[in-house]
Amino acid sequence: MMNDMTRVERTVDSKAIKIAANNVQVHYGDTHAIKDVNVEIEDKTVTAFIGPSGCGKSTFLRCLNRMNDTIDICRVTGDILLDGEDIYDKRVDPVQLRAKVGMVFQKPNPFPKSIYDNVAYGPRIHGLAKNKAELDEIVEKSLRRGAIWDEVKDRLDAPGTGLSGGQQQRLCIARAVATEPEVLLMDEPCSALDPIATAQVEELIDDLRKRYSVVIVTHSMQQAARVSQKTAFFHLGNLVEFGETGQIFTNPEDPRTESYITGRIG
């Protein structure tokens, strides 16, 4: 299942733009959380969002699949194009959008159902499995990709809420990949994971990159450097810098980026 490839190719050849955000502004009531952000997320690429806590990473991530729709006081302006189509267009069905753009939330939120049902839910509603056997297979595969199969294979019927913090996080990852989204948004997917599990998830991300596009929020500069090809640095709601990961970490243009990377602003 897992291949042993851990090295990351830093292919810098220009790829198709998967998501393009233009002049995105987000307000929570009076709080201006995202200020005029422009960013282009490429296909088959891992993009990392980094930045100090509270700078708007999650907010921006949630804009990309319109999860912000569920927050009453949240207002989003500007355009976000997925494959060239405005996702905030009236004709767009957010459901379909979210099926394409999957999400792993910052706080693990398993359903109060069995582990199996947690993972099987997405495939079920999207009709990804012809029959029970196929569904079983998807569930197993996803749990394996989420690096949690071994821990839960004997208790697939146990509730997902009875897992440890890190297990819940991996369950949520497994749940998200089970629906095979084209873009996967991961909000600090490894925050509760030990190094080994982290490595396995990073491997997964790298694997996903072959076919899809992944956006990952992380606080670990090392992780960003390990898994991503592109990095965006947010600060106080602004997108300060966006570029090749290598370049951002070795040679940032903006002084704020540099300060952050070297650990001077937070």
């Binding site: 569920t70 999957g102 109060p112 089970a178």
Partner: protein, 452 residues
């Protein structure tokens, strides 16, 4: 405040390191508060349960008598000269003899029984006949009309006895208490005593109370709650089939889909307000809409069910909305995040989590609907209705019927104290009905309960 309240970090002095075993004053106080709080809880439940016990004990002691009735076994000669004067067994002619015409037959049957048993009495047969229920005549007449061939023969019957005699058998009526009573005399009680001693008059379980129909004020002994139980059953069926889905659907719309604006606020306030509308007003509405406007039949359980549905809806909606609100948003997010539609997230995740509250609302709403009389008053379901059980499902919904609470209410108003016992007996059955209904809901509710 106390010795422990110090400005933290103000001095380098660490907090006094008390032992875990001895509690400082503040902890003691807080623990006392905790203990009191818990005690209040226990007391609250205790009060509730105590009241329940008191009420139920009251009900049961007052009502168990209704399940027993006194009967008298008699051999009645179906005299041809009285029942079929022409002797040609023409059913039309036989029907001409009214129930009043059967009274002498019964009286003389009783007289011969009394003679046979060697009971001494000065009573005339007619007076003696009053020991028996008036329902006996109707029973006899129905038998004869159903079996005209039996005319001329002597048939053995088990008749109900009059409510006073029954009261005497149950100890409610005594020789002293009938001093001013016109409907029974000490002489009659003497006969009753001897009939009882010889075993033809006895108390027995009375299934007709549970399955039978109402009887007029003169025959408390013959009244049963069965037919009105069917009425209630059909009404509850309507209420459950309509109020639950409509209430849940309306709540889902309001809580999950309705845009947040003035209009929704108005709707929300309106629905809570409906809960405060006195139930009789729903009767006014039902009369105006279902009977006068839609021309549905009066006294029909269908209409009663519809009215009670409207009355129950706010209860179900309020509780459903409250429980929908209580489901944490993160669950919705999780579902939306894997590409479920809002509808799917609601039906697959939110609704099951809200189910306990919905079921509670349903239990309370149905309990209320099951016990409600006032609105039924206006749509004609209170009174003396339906002497026969409905003969089919459709008739069950459409033909005139009463309901258990209405029947109980009627009985409780009647003059003969024998009805008092039946009213309480009816309440026992109503409660059994209710508890059965609740048990199903409670079992369902327990399956849905979980914490996260």
């Amino acid at each position: 405040m106390t010795d422990i309240s110090q400005s933290p970090g103000a001095s380098s002095a660490a907090k006094p390191k008390g032992s875990l075993f001895d509690k400082d004053a503040r902890t003691k106080r807080r623990n006392a508060a905790e203990g009191r709080f818990k005690l209040y809880g226990i007391a609250a439940i205790g009060i509730g349960l105590l009241m329940l016990i008191v009420l139920v004990t009251n009900i049961v002691t007052a009502g168990t008598g209704a399940f027993q009735q006194s009967f008298l076994e008699l051999n009645v000669e179906l005299k041809e000269d009285k029942l079929d004067k022409k002797g040609n067994r023409n059913i039309e002619d036989i029907k001409k003899v009214s129930t009043f015409g059967y009274a002498p037959l019964i009286a003389s049957a009783l007289e011969s029984e009394v003679q046979k048993l060697g009971i001494q009495t000065d009573l005339k047969p007619k007076e003696m006949g009053k020991i028996l229920s008036k329902a006996a005549q109707a029973e006899l007449r129905n038998y004869v009309i159903a079996n005209p061939d039996e005319i001329g023969k002597t048939v053995s019957f088990r008749f109900l006895v009059n409510s006073r005699v029954d009261g005497y058998m149950k100890g409610r009526v005594t020789r002293e208490s009938i001093a001013n009573d016109k409907s029974i005399s000490v002489a009659q009680l003497d006969v009753v005593d001897q009939l009882r001693d010889s075993g033809v008059l006895y108390k027995a379980f009375n299934p007709d109370f549970i399955f039978g129909s109402d009887a007029s004020d003169q025959r408390p002994e013959a009244a049963g709650i069965g037919v009105s139980m069917l009425g209630s059953l059909f009404m509850m069926f309507v209420v459950l089939a309509l109020a639950l889905p409509i209430g849940v659907a309306a709540s889902i719309y309001l809580e999950e889909f309705a845009p947040q604006n003035r209009l929704t606020d108005i709707i929300e306030v309106n629905i809570s307000n409906l809960a405060a509308v006195p139930s009789i007003v729903f009767g006014i509405l039902g009369l105006a809409v279902f009977i006068n406007y839609m021309h549905l039949p009066t006294s029909a359980p269908l209409v009663g069910g519809l009215v009670l549905t409207l009355m129950t809806l706010p209860t179900i909606i309020i509780s459903t909305r409250a429980s929908l609100k209580a489901v944490p948003p993160s669950i919705r997010d999780a579902a939306l995040g894997v590409g479920a539609s809002k509808m799917q997230s609601v039906f697959h995740h939110v609704l099951p989590l809200a189910a306990p509250g919905i079921l509670t609302g349903t239990i309370i709403g149905l309990a209320q609907a099951l016990g409600e009389t006032a609105p039924l008053l206006l749509i004609g379901m209170v009174g003396f209705i339906a002497s026969n059980p409905p003969d089919g499902i459709v008739a069950g919904f459409l033909s005139p019927n009463s309901a258990m609470p209405a029947q109980i209410y009627e009985w409780s108003k009647r003059a003969d104290p024998a009805f008092y016992e039946r009213a309480w007996g009816g309440i026992i059955i109503l409660l059994i009905f209710l508890v059965t209904m609740n048990t199903i809901a409670v079992i369902l509710r327990r399956r849905f309960e979980r914490r996260w």
